[in-house]
């Protein structure tokens, strides 16, 4: 009796490699950005020379009109060329993704073909076709058939994405081909992108994060690519969208800024404002490079960086930015750090370094859950201690609203897979965080205030949206800022920004946060700025909280204010540690 075992054919015949060279596309994009910069330079010059002092009359009027018109046209042309450049940048990024997919498919086909060859050999080697042997071989054949079918589907999908990427790029070029199109407000924007942005729920329409998420989920893959390419600023700042999407969009804008402003710098035509924007862009690039190359302390894998917010010209050049370390879309534990006064985009690399420290510490002493940490400078932090904005709390209140909105966006982007989320505020950022949790229903699980000059609107930890049991405070006894908050019967007058959250009446959990190198007197440097320093008590405890184990922090006694004297800090005389297991060890050295 003969037995038939149908071995599936190897398919597809071959994996078709996407055509195109990402590096060449990058070069083309840089050329376009440079060209856009040139158009901008002409527009800038026209704005400066359209009026000639002392020259009046018909000829002067005609000259002025013509110059202004030329300036406007060059500005419009710059915008269109810039959009096309961004389309090319996005195409290059897509091409890299597609190339990686292609490599994966090639590997899968090699593997499947190997299994097929082995199956054929095993069938031919059968000498006694018992029912069990035949069933086993048929099962392998069936499984192989299913895997080939899946490969064919994925290969078709790859080819479809290749075509869509090429179509999108072609549409971007075509939308700016004629002079009229190039000078139009939406020159270089493909029609599909315009149509999609007109739908309800689109970013920038006043839609809620949940509506923005629903809008995104209703788009096809080609439509998504189109809007990321055509409207990267709006997509990159849209609360409710996946962090990976915002990252893609923001990196397009970042590449544009670096290339366009870099070429203007080379030409010597950079204005002071543009100089600052370029410096901010370079900080973001450096920070992303650090985050992208950082290795997880346990697995050695690279969790990657995310450009979650990028607006380098905001707040009179201080900039708005958010850089993530790890995958905000999937991490079990997410931490958001809000910094304090004097922080601008100039500090992005340093704060991203602190987010790397926090990621490392959380994973190092963690329970194995995945982690993502985010430096969030989404508000206009006061410029200095003597900035009147520092004393008024207005920036903290505005920042609190923005922080709560951003966290709403994170929540909305993961409706079925909520992360354990910790909001950390440092210095004035702790007051900002307090406003978010006190007045704007911050949707965090835990709140950590470090180096706090006061808890803003909250008199008690119970006033926070997370509840008193989930409010933690770190205060180095030498921190000159953390003694400013009102405390006890005496109080300190109008110096602080609300109640001292480390005081015994506030009701938060205070954790050990003394720096081993602390000075004998209160100060700004080590005392106020070392809370996220490796192998410190503070970083150890914050890592535990971020990991979801706030109940395991090493608790410190609250500060208190005897009615007859100034406030006392029981931590003042305790000997701090560094690098001690269970207290302050946060990383391997090797």
């Amino acid at each position: 009796m003969s037995v038939v075992i149908e071995v599936p054919p190897s398919q597809p015949d071959r994996i078709i490699e996407p055509e195109g060279d990402p590096a060449a596309a990058d070069t083309l994009a840089t050329t376009l950005y440079t060209a856009a910069g040139r158009y901008e330079e002409v527009a800038d010059t026209a704005a400066e020379v359209w009026w000639v002092t002392g020259w009046t009359g018909d000829a002067a009027d005609a000259y002025g009109e013509a110059t202004k018109s030329a300036g406007d046209e060059h500005a419009a042309m710059a915008t269109t060329v810039q959009r096309v450049g961004r389309a090319v940048t996005a195409y290059a990024d897509t091409l890299r993704d597609l190339s990686r997919t292609y490599e994966e498919l090639v590997d899968r086909k090699v593997s499947l073909d190997g299994r097929r060859t082995a199956l054929v050999a095993d069938i031919n080697a059968v000498t006694e076709a018992t029912p069990e042997v035949v069933a086993a071989l048929r099962a392998r054949a069936s499984e192989l058939r299913g895997d080939y079918a899946e490969l064919v589907t994925d290969h078709d999908d790859l080819q479809r994405r290749v075509r869509e990427a090429e179509t999108l790029l072609r549409q971007a070029f075509e939308a700016g081909t004629s002079l009229d199109e190039a000078l139009a407000d939406d020159g270089g924007v493909p029609q599909v992108a315009r149509d999609v942005m007109d739908r309800p729920g689109a970013p920038g329409s006043g839609a809620s994060p949940e509506q923005v998420r629903d809008w995104w989920e209703g788009l096809s893959e080609a439509e998504r690519e189109a809007v990321v390419t055509a409207y990267p600023e709006r997509i990159g700042a849209a609360d409710g969208l996946p962090a990976s999407v915002r990252d893609d969009a923001n990196r397009v804008v970042l590449d544009d800024d670096l290339a366009t402003l870099g070429s203007k710098r080379d030409d010597g035509t950079l204005s002071p404002t543009e100089e600052r924007v370029l410096a901010n862009a370079e900080q973001a690039r450096q920070a992303l490079e650090d985050a992208d190359t950082f290795e997880d302390p346990i697995t050695g894998e690279r969790p990657g960086g995310l450009l979650h917010l990028y607006d380098p010209g905001a707040f009179d050049g201080d900039g708005r930015v958010a850089i993530g370390v790890g995958d905000l879309d999937t991490a079990d534990d997410v931490a958001v750090l809000t910094p304090g006064i004097t922080t601008t985009m100039d500090d992005t690399t340093s704060y991203t370094g602190q987010m790397i420290n926090l990621y490392e510490a959380t994973r190092y002493n963690g329970d194995g859950s995945s982690v993502a940490t985010l430096f969030w400078l989404g508000y206009d932090a006061p410029d200095a201690f003597y900035d009147p904005a520092t004393a008024t709390e207005g920036r903290a209140e505005d920042g609190g609203r923005r922080l709560a909105d951003m966290v709403d966006g994170l929540r909305a982007s993961r409706p079925d897979d909520p992360a354990h989320l910790t909001a950390i505020g440092h210095s004035y950022g702790s007051t900002t965080t307090s406003y978010a949790a006190g007045d704007f229903d911050l949707r965090a699980d835990d709140v950590v205030l470090i180096g706090s000059p006061g808890a803003g609107p909250a008199d008690h930890a119970d006033d926070f949206s997370v509840g008193a049991d989930n409010v933690y405070v770190g205060r180095d006894s030498r921190d000159i800022v953390a003694v400013l908050g009102d405390e006890g019967w005496v109080g300190k007058g109008p110096v602080g920004l609300g109640t001292d959250p480390s005081s015994d009446g506030f009701g938060a959990t205070r954790f050990e946060a003394e720096d081993v190198e602390r000075a004998p007197i209160r100060n700004w440097d080590d005392g106020h700025s070392s809370y996220l320093h490796h192998d410190s008590e503070s970083l150890y405890n914050i890592g535990l909280i971020v990991d979801g184990h706030g109940d395991q922090v090493n608790v410190a006694e609250h500060s208190y204010d005897p009615w007859y004297d100034f406030a006392r800090d029981p931590e003042w005389d305790r000997e701090p540690s560094s690098g001690v297991e269970g207290e302050s060890r946060t990383r391997d050295r090797g």
Binding site: Q283, G300, V490, E517, D565, F566, R589, G590
Partner: protein, 172 residues
């Protein structure tokens, strides 16, 4: 009571004056870019010398820590400061507890002083010499191995040193 009533405005004034003086440029770098560059170069050299010596000592107790690697991490964001540390890990001939104790003892003979040591919840030791800090413990990344390294002090920097953060150095 009188003292307390007076205390509030006096303290407020004193703190305001103090902060006005000490924090007028609180987030600014404390050094020039050139000073930052010199300080980071010097600190890295000192740490790498120390960690090579530590690795030599470790070899004497059966631990081959090489290859050694180093890198920078952030101490403070404002004002900016960085810390260089370097080290390696090795599988011990016996238990990690025994190896850490033996290496601790050997380092003490080389001029290091034990600042902290223990076995709970895992064996570890922290030793200091000048402004360097040696850290020994069980490796999290390589379970069953001893991790050992040296960290330098926090060094004041400027934005010009930011690029150091992404670098990894082969110290061997």
């Amino acid at each position: 009571m009188v003292r307390a009533r007076l205390a509030a405005p006096i303290l407020a004034l004193a703190l305001t004056a103090l902060l006005g003086v000490t924090m007028s440029a609180c987030g600014d770098p404390k050094v020039s870019p050139e000073e930052g560059a010199e300080a980071t170069t010097a600190s890295r050299a000192v740490v790498e010398d120390a960690v090579r010596s530590l690795a030599d000592v470790a070899e004497g107790v059966g631990l081959d820590l090489r290859p050694l690697s180093g890198g920078w991490s952030v101490c403070t964001a404002e004002p900016p400061s960085l810390e260089y540390s370097a080290g390696g890990s090795a599988k011990p001939p016996g238990t990690t507890t025994e190896a850490i104790a033996a290496l601790t003892e050997a380092l003490e003979t080389e001029g290091w002083t034990v600042e902290n040591a223990g076995t709970e919840p895992r064996p570890y030791a922290v030793l200091v010499r000048d402004d360097l800090r040696a850290s020994l413990g069980e490796s999290r990344r390589h379970p069953g191995e001893v991790d050992a390294g040296v960290g330098g002090p926090c060094v004041d920097t400027t934005n010009e040193q930011d690029a150091l953060l992404g670098e990894t150095y082969d110290v061997s």
